[in-house]
Amino acid sequence: MTTYYGLYGQKVQYLASDPTDVQTGQVWYNSTSATLKVRQDVTTNSWGSGGNLNTARYFNAGMGAGTQTAALVFGGFTTGGSQSASEKYDGTSWTNTPSLPSAVAAITGFGTQTAALGAGGTPAPGTANVLSWNGSAWSAGTSMGTAKYGALSEGTQTAGLVFGNVYGPDTVAEKWDGTSWTTTGSLNTNATGAASSGTQTAALIFGGGGPPMLNRTESFNGTSWTTLPGTLNTSRGASLMGCGTQTSALAFGGDTNTFTATAATEIWNGSTWTSNPTGLSTPRSRGGGNGTQTAALASGGFNNTTQVNATEEWSGIVATTKTVTVT
């Protein structure tokens, strides 16, 4: 007879209460409730509500390398125009941080919650300005070689990549090494209104346009961009949101060809985009996207009529304790 001991070389623990530090796959017997339990990973792939932004906004910068529980959002548009508010997220609520030196929207951000850069942005048709965040204050950084407005970015504060421009066609990409900017390989298709994921040397760009909206996907190997055969199921741009890595990304929101915000969410496995059955609760474009394919954050954006303060948290996999029924 097959036994648990025979399979795993361990006996099932006999405990009066559930253990506190449980590993996925761990099995134990709870003698108090007289139940056999197992810890397992459950794929949820759903969006749940997060804390509301203090300042509703769109075309704000969300840290591409930030995490779902340690994110930073700054700048953006409100009804009154560009604004300077900066906020950080702790997984539950947003807290105001020192504001940008001046109001700016369509700025792109990369790095972490405590070490970030913001590049380009208003006024139109864009600037080469760079702002640096050290976790407690903003200061002026080294300007890029080209002016950008609504660009994309990936990487860290000392190894970044900024590419594309709403005012195009502009396929220029620039690398940042912590000291200076260097032009690198150009995109095959203009990055207007697209989203991205990855790092300075392994990036991904998807969607874009405005209109017609695009479904394209391109990858960057640190030197050049390659158009990939895998395309989004829902063409969208202006601007969708994304996060993750080059081979494990998430695309969500954006506008369709009629400039209608979509809730559609798609999962990238390195070669194919798969539509998730459910999407964002608040369809939106031009918001912030942070985190990973399994733990993402959507913040702010435009919902067809106005800027929103809604934040949504994406959960790909959740560890859950299940009671095993034995017959």
Binding site: T44, S46, W47, G48, S49, G50, G51, N52, Y58, F59, F77, T79, G81, T92, S93, A106, A124, Y149, G150, V166, Y167, T192, G193, G210, A238, S239, T258, F259, T260, A263, T278, G279, S281, T282, P283, R286, F302, N303, N304, T305, T306, A310, T311, E312, E313, S315, V318
Partner: protein, 98 residues
Amino acid sequence: MAYKYCVAECWGKGFITHDDASKYQVSGFPGNVWQIPANNQDANLWVNKVAGSFKTKAEAQAIVDVEVTAAQAAWDALPDEQKQQPFNRQRPTAIVLE
């Protein structure tokens, strides 16, 4: 699919949980209007959880229309230079609830 509508203010974390979202789709519209599947018991219980006020489709559509009209008026009042900025935003279009 048939839908129901309610009005509820999103308070933030926990308003829609992953457990909620894994069972049914909640879709938000301007004016704090939320759409849920009509014949889903869990979704109907969610409306109670968030202290939502059920609306008929016509009532919900009217609330959305007010928001869209106000947004269109605000956009019309913008200076031309702001209207012409790419992706700043477009003139809001009508939203028709399903």
